[in-house]
């Protein structure tokens, strides 16, 4: 098979070719390794997707069922003996002594570690511009961001520098970059994938999931990711096996369109949803109706307008606590010539953290400070309860909820870096699902200004199989052409 034919295969197709003997795991790995290594060598002259690329092609055969499919992994997953810095200078030179459960589950199923992907520092960002490794570029247009924080994973899959990738989502960090890069991204039910070995950002929200070329690949990866892990006390046993999706119709499926997240109440203005995004979103609702779905416009998520505010209390508060461990003592960077212990802590954190991380640590420590805890963190956790109740009430009326994934298409590099609040508003439509802990997927649904638009579909907790089936049917009907990004 030629390299062009090889990279034209989805991960599921490549696994089938290996199984059939028409493609070897080594050929597949080398095709991708060569592409990834070229991008890594080009640095910011390429897409800058990677922080590390494997040097050797593995010998021998990888176990079924994944048969050696190369896997790109977001930098924040600990990988034994392989650099893992969560996009931060403060973890310079860190080689973890163990591997994250999500990664080891995939390698035990036969995936092979191809590369580590660039990301916003500690997953804080929506554009992958906050990385110690420099920004990632969008393969659809190199003057645009790929979204974030899993921007390296999304751009690598879109450009076929990796067949599929592992990312993490705290408030939209899988779904939003998937949308901006024209690929599929799935945030599973909170607790269904172990967080053990993920360098923590906000522990009550962080969840690992697939970034893939199509919905079938997302299902295949998820199948091998889910499950209870004794090393993560918040992890849950997934109640059923993840099936590969087969649905081609949506007969009888009730799709709810919440007014608060779809531009219905304000013409998009309140949510900042662009006209071109709304057009693509509404066209996909028409496709869904043609497939037999019932579109229910009357559902409401009344607390969704408060979701982003609650998120920007909870996530920074948890981050400020989680990031206290980076103090120059046990791993990573230590500032030289400190005059005493406190000076060493202060200078290490001053030198090691970027501006956005410092901003969130300050917000978080403020929200958790004595006398403010109840007014901020306690209150935000109560808002969170109301948001989860909103979704439960909505799912009594409909099977799935659909919204645009992101309010805009990929924006220009540097366009929003000067205004943190504008950057945070990218997550307006994805944060409510994160707070409610429910699964949500983004699939490409069209183009606006020549750039991809994402459709978000959300389901009740543990509803991944229904979610994937509906996404599969819609993916077929929409017929999005992702090939322009794969040059």
């Amino acid at each position: 098979m030629s390299d062009a034919e090889i990279i034209g295969l989805s991960a599921t197709e490549a696994a089938a070719e290996i199984e059939a003997g028409s493609l070897s795991a080594q050929e597949l790995f080398e095709a991708y390794r060569g592409r990834a290594a070229s991008d890594r060598a080009a640095g910011e002259g390429g897409l800058n997707c990677f922080t590390w690329v494997a040097e050797d092609v593995p010998d021998g055969t990888a176990p079924a069922p994944l048969g050696g499919i190369p896997l790109a992994v977001k930098d924040l997953f600990c990988t034994e003996g392989v650099p893992s810095q969560s996009g931060s200078r403060i973890l310079e030179g860190y080689l973890p002594p163990y591997t994250a459960t999500a990664v080891s589950r995939l390698t035990e199923a036969g995936a092979t570690l191809l590369a580590k992907t660039n990301q916003d520092e500690f997953a804080m960002g929506s554009s992958t511009e906050n990385s110690a490794y420099g920004p990632v570029l969008n393969p659809w247009n190199r003057e645009r961001v790929p979204g974030g924080s899993s921007g390296g994973s999304a751009a690598a899959v879109a450009a076929a520098l990796a067949p599929w990738a592992l990312g993490t989502d705290t408030g939209g960090s899988i779904r939003q970059p998937a949308a901006l890069c024209g690929i599929v991204g799935l945030k599973p039910t909170y607790g269904s994938v172990s967080r053990y070995g993920m360098i923590a950002f906000a522990s009550s929200l962080d969840q690992a999931g697939p970034l893939t070329r199509d919905v079938t690949d997302a299902a295949l990866m998820l199948r091998h990711l889910v499950g209870r892990d004794a090393c993560d006390a918040t992890s849950l046993a997934f109640p059923e096996e993840i099936a590969l999706p087969s649905a081609e119709r949506l007969d009888g499926v009730r799709l709810g369109v919440p007014a608060e997240l779809s531009g219905a109440s304000t013409g998009g203005e309140g949510e900042g949803i662009e006209a071109g995004v709304l057009d693509a979103f509404r066209a996909s609702l028409d496709r869904a109706a043609e497939l037999g779905a019932e579109i229910v416009q009357s559902i409401s998520l009344p607390h969704a307008p408060q979701a982003l505010a609650a998120y920007y209390v909870l996530a920074p508060a948890e981050a400020s606590s989680n990031l206290a461990r980076f103090d120059g003592v046990r791993y990573g960077l230590r500032a030289d010539d400190a005059k005493d212990l406190l000076d060493m802590y202060t200078r290490t954190r001053h030198d090691g953290f970027g501006a956005e991380v410092k901003r969130r640590i300050m917000l978080g420590t403020y929200a958790l400070s004595s006398g403010y805890y109840d007014a901020f963190y306690g209150r935000a956790q109560r808002v969170r309860t109301k948001i989860a109740e909103d979704f439960r009430a909505a799912f009594a009326e409909v099977d799935l909820i659909v919204t645009p994934t992101a309010p805009t298409v990929a924006f220009k590099l540097g366009e929003k870096t000067g205004d943190p609040l504008q950057m945070y508003l990218n997550d307006y439509c994805t944060v409510p699902m994160s707070l409610a802990g429910i699964p949500a997927i983004s699939i490409p649904c069209g183009l606006s200004e020549g750039l991809p638009v994402g459709l978000q579909i959300a389901a009740p907790a543990f509803g991944e199989n229904r979610l994937l089936d509906a996404a599969h049917a819609l993916e077929r009907a929409i017929g999005f052409d992702s090939s322009p990004a794969r040059r």
């Binding site: 080689l95 002594p97 163990y98 039910t189 909170y190 607790g191 009550s204 006390a233 918040t234 992890s235 849950l236 046993a237 997934f238 109640p239 607390h303 307008p305 408060q306 982003l308 505010a309 609650a310 920007y312 209390v313 120059g328 003592v329 046990r330 791993y331 990573g332 960077l333 230590r334 400190a338 005059k339 005493d340 212990l341 406190l342 000076d343 060493m344 410092k358 901003r359 300050m362 917000l363 901020f376 306690g378 209150r379 935000a380 956790q381 109560r382 808002v383 969170r384 309860t385 109301k386 989860a388 439960r392 205004d419 943190p420 609040l421 945070y424 409610a436 802990g437 907790a461 543990f462």
Partner: protein, 80 residues
Amino acid sequence: MARELSAVLDHIAKIEELDLDGVAPTTHVVADAMPTDPVPTHPRLRADEPRASLPREVALAQAPAISGDGEGFLVPSPQA
């Protein structure tokens, strides 16, 4: 940065708009909504049994500085 933080704090004030009397705070967002054990999906702590931890030399291997006897992390004095 003060101006940026003020803008974010102004946005965060939206959570004060709501009446939240009697609303319980979320702990585990998925498990909160589920019946308690013995439902198998409910989170539970593992048995409290001793098990091997990382060997000392592996735990110390990534440290910027370790003590001369190789037994601990080395840091500057708290009051130099």
